[in-house]
């Protein structure tokens, strides 16, 4: 299933007529892109910021264009982006120095995941005292998230959530499972079940025949939150410092839920697009899973349900094979290619697959018309990884694409080469375009010029 282009937003096909009352016909206006009409976006057309993460590094030989500037070539891995050449920039030379060992030894995958959006060197612990920093997306969500129904959206296709056993070399699994962090200790776990994402965007399924007492339930939510907030405060009084901090997570979550209830009143939930069925769970087919997540992400942006999103396609260290493109080896095993040409070619195949899916996403955003152009015109989308060559766990010369026009803020269609520059400088730049006040993030040293 793919996001329909403009042509698909046409009135329903004529064969439906014969069905009469049997069919539940969606309302005609829901067949139009439903940019939340109740309350218009603050300050005209909204700008969006999206981060997409790919694990285990990239085969850089087939990624980095030889040419620089507007006359850049698209190497084989980026070939699926040919039609979108004018909408993307390849950024070379960005680095995540805080993903390096810095005396902490092994664990580059856990560090790469957790450093990617925070720019912070994670504290090495198997669990007792997790410490990282706030991620770029959450910094934005905390300041401007109130402008939309959902402050932010966190997605993933990683289903190894029940993975037993230890994670990367002495790092707690939280580092490897999350790229989005609301503060130093609390991750924003991504959702991998499309049904749950669908429900977040468009509301939970409420079978009108079966629903009972919904009105009372909804009205009671506020008093329930009042009481449990009080419970948490009195609980905290009898706890030690670490436990108090832990219960702080609960308190924050209650307060945010209170805000979310208000937001639900202020912005009604978007209507699901008529072309999309309520997903029934995680598809068995991986390509379908990735596609449906991009579809949902696209709808979220189009309907202005949120302006800030992260999509960790898979977590670092993912050892998924890709038999449907002829790669039967596990991705992580392959990434330690020992310079074998055959292995590198297979990594490039995996990279190509992910770029192809990403290109489909960009194309669909480009097909979504809205005031001031298309959704892609008004978005800033980063695709990247905190590892370049997986064999050496290299954290410099990172693979980064910056896509969309950011409502005029970006000048895509170029290959821009930087001297070694913190990746976080790019984030600082995007944040300022989003209207977010931030002096620094992680190891940032300033704004990134020339994007």
């Amino acid at each position: 299933m793919h996001i329909p282009n403009k042509a698909a937003w046409l009135p329903r096909r004529t064969f439906l007529r014969g069905l009469g009352a049997c069919m539940a016909l969606p309302l005609l206006e829901c067949m139009m892109p439903a940019v939340s009409r109740a309350v218009g976006p603050v300050g005209g057309v909204p700008r969006r910021m999206v981060f997409v993460y790919l694990p285990n590094g990239i085969d850089m030989e087939n990624w980095t264009p030889k040419g620089v500037g507007a006359a850049f070539d698209l190497p084989s891995t980026l070939e699926p982006l040919t039609a979108l050449r004018g909408d993307i920039s390849v950024l070379s030379g960005l680095a995540h120095n805080n993903a390096k060992g810095l005396g902490d030894g092994a664990g580059d995958h856990a560090r790469a995941n957790s450093c990617f959006l925070t720019g912070v060197h994670p504290r090495k612990t198997a669990g007792a005292d997790i410490h990282i920093g706030i991620s770029a997306d959450q910094l934005a969500a905390q300041q401007i998230g109130k402008n939309t129904r959902l402050p932010s959206l966190e997605l993933s296709c990683d289903t190894s959530g029940r993975q037993a056993g230890a994670c990367d070399s002495g790092y707690a699994c939280a580092y490897q499972n999350n790229i989005s962090w609301r503060n130093e200790n609390t991750p924003m776990p991504p959702t991998s079940d499309p049904r749950l994402v669908f429900e977040r965007l468009f509301g939970a399924e409420e079978d009108p025949d079966l629903a009972v007492g919904r009105a009372i339930r909804e009205a009671s939510r506020k008093s329930i939150l009042d009481v449990v907030l009080g419970d948490a405060q009195s609980l905290q009084k009898s706890l030690g410092a670490t436990d108090r901090r832990k219960v702080d997570e609960y308190l924050t979550a209650v307060r945010e839920t209170e805000i979310a209830i208000d937001q639900d009143v202020k912005f009604r939930a978007a209507q699901p697009p008529p072309t999309m069925n309520r997903p029934n769970g995680i598809p068995g087919d991986f390509t379908e899973h990735v596609r449906i997540m991009y579809d949902l992400l696209g709808f979220a942006l189009q309907t202005d349900s949120t302006r800030i999103a992260t999509f960790m396609v898979l977590r670092e260290g993912s050892n998924r094979p890709y038999p449907f493109i002829g790669v039967n080896e596990g991705h992580h095993d392959l990434s330690h290619h020992g310079n074998s040409a055959e292995k590198k070619a297979k990594i490039a195949k995996i990279n190509h697959f992910h770029v192809e899916q990403f290109a489909g996403f960009l194309a669909s955003l480009k097909g979504m018309r809205e005031q001031g152009g298309t959704v892609l015109d008004n978005s800033m989308i980063v695709l990247g990884s905190a590892i370049a060559d997986g064999n050496k766990h290299q954290h410099t010369e990172l693979p980064v694409l910056l896509c969309g026009h950011g409502g005029g803020a970006l000048q895509p269609g170029r290959h821009v080469k930087f001297g070694e520059t913190p990746m976080t400088n790019l984030y600082l730049t995007l944040l300022s375009q989003m209207g977010v006040k931030a002096d620094r993030i992680g190891d940032s040293t300033g704004l990134l010029k020339n994007v």
């Binding site: 959530g161 410092a241 924050t252 068995g284 038999p323």
Partner: protein, 781 residues
Amino acid sequence: MLPPIHRFLLGCAALAVCAGGARAAAPDFTGEVKPLLENYCFKCHGNGKKKGGLALDTFLAAPTAPTHEKDWNKVLENLRTGDMPPDDAKQPTDEQRQKLMKWIDLAIFSVDPDHPDPGRVTIRRLNRAEYNNTIRDLVGVDIQPADDFPADDSGYGFDDIGDVLSISPMLFDRYLSAAEKVMSAAILNDHKPRPEKVSVDLLKIEGGPATGSTPNSRRIDEREATANIDLPVAGAYLLKLAFSAKKVGDQPTQPEVKFDGQALFGLPSFNGTSDATEELKLKISVEQPGAHTLTFRVTNPIPKPETKNGKTITRGFTIRRIDLISPLQPVKAPPSQLKLLAPGRGQPTLEKAARAIIASFAGRAFRRPVSATEIDRFYWIYTQAQKKNANFEQGVQTALTAVLVSPYFIYREEIQPNPDSPKTTQPVSEWALASRLSYFLWSTMPDDALFAEATKGTLRKNLETQVRRMLADPKAEALVENYAGQWLQIRNLTQVQPDAKMYPEWDKPLAAAMERETQMLFENVMREDRSILDFVAADYTFVNERLARHYGISGVEGEAFVKVKLPANRPGGILGHGSFLTLTSNPNRTSPVKRGKYVLDNLLGTPPPPPPPEVPDLDSAKGAELTGTLRQRMEQHRKDPVCASCHARMDPIGFALEHFDGVGAWRERDGQNSIDPAGQLVSGEKFAGAAELRQILLTRKRADVLRCAAEKMLTYALGRGLEYYDRPAIEKISRDLAANDAKFSTLVMGVVNSVPFQMRRGEGDHHQFLDSGKAATAVNK
């Protein structure tokens, strides 16, 4: 049996000096310890040499500085396991070894078995399994609401670690909707007739194309496919269908649906150029309740399908969803409702009834007595709902929903006086102990019997009786599922994807059988209270027909698992289990490194140090591609000194198991290459193959195996990582195991009776605890 902990605790109460006090003296560093280090360690770790990054002579100026703790801990581990000094170096006597270990214990870590530090467990929220089970036992509805929660993070190998179980706004939102869902399933708040919904599992549709089904999609072509459905009542149903399809070739796709063999009218044909999903609502009449069929096919297949780019073009459609809505039916209160509302019966007023219901429910939900103020607060929610014209049931529903969202339900708090004082240690309350026990053994809340003991304050007194009762209860299956599932990592079997070309026999039923086999070994040891060494020693296992065929065992038929004797070529215990052998393989080959690491991590408890951060580029460094068998290539790798010391620990263990391929099937040869399973452990023991390796684990390494079992189970039971000051607890459990035929119940009782399980101290670290000197210990209940 073990001396019950309560005796020890009472002793503490009488003396009131558990922390601090007189301690055993450490051996003298300059006179006794330093010469040993110089004599046995400095050849590689001193005088300018620093193998593995360790230079012990640099510590000599201030050997007890806290900065060296991690390194000393490693030294201690290596001394204990005999891995250091390596077998080709000069060996200290046992007495010298003990002296060094004692010095590290006392001088570096101040670990004194007579003055134990119980440590502290960070407040734990329920994880997903615990939430589902607790709702089942508390409310009486088994709807697994936590399946919709984000996955729990894990630490130290387990997903019940308080420090890493966090609450995001998204999770809280799920708590709220889960509580509402649970309460509306548990209590009916009106008596209006209502319909029932029957949803068809798309994976259970039979016939038609064989491949490509998911929970969301079922492909249909011209071959008839059938869904068998069971309908609760007769009458007029609404059949809701979601199909997607497009025009293929020159004709639209025309689906057909039959109910009990009768074709239904009103189906669209799909004429679009790209796939579109249509939702249909059709009325069907059902003559009688019970079994019925829905059949699907395409009526106009392409007569001669052509093949383009390797894909055959067929005309077909995809079913996305099938629901049947029954006619309205009269309703009966579910058993959960009768149970939850029972405390209100016979109360003189509605207010009193509501309060009684809330008090009873909140007490069980919070796993402790509740105060009058707490009841007031939840009763206030009831009154708020009443103001919005809720009826009695709706009001109660709302109040109980709040209980399920309260932090006292979500978290398992263990209240202690002076929580911020590292000096204060005390036994956990009987209520908290009841929860520690039930979440450890059952992954759920305490039952009535445990609550009754806690109410009377007799739980500690009757601890062993209770533990034995709990291990015999069906709920102890949770220990198999959650503890063994994570310790032995068999939960991951749903995630592995062996290469289909290399291992065509691999499929989901085989994976499930492998998981079950290992679960059953664990369960057998638990239920029959056998030796935990059976995990390595068992010469029996459990197989169904599918797994028996995989192992080359004849005479087993059907789905059911039976106990069989192992074939001679398979080593005992989990070393011969398909689960372990598959989990530790790459998709298209075995990985001796991963197998060795698994054994070191999970059976011996002596994990190898992690690889260096920058893996050297072996191939290019040597300038030539490595050649030969897998073993020869790995041996060339190992020539690199950076890799050698750790791989010498892992690889030989893995090579002993090379006769088992990437999915655990026996093989004589690895492709063209013969297999050499002989090897030598880093501590010197030689073996000819898997059978001898197993023998070494059971004899020379027996102490390590027992100790590892104790460490893993204590970690899971406590919900925190182990610290060096837990060493006395581990030693004690290991000693008891050695003295009691390593019985499973000895292990569980050892964990339950251990100081860290029974007690907690206030916030702060071990050094602050020690600084407390002769501070009095509070013993409050």
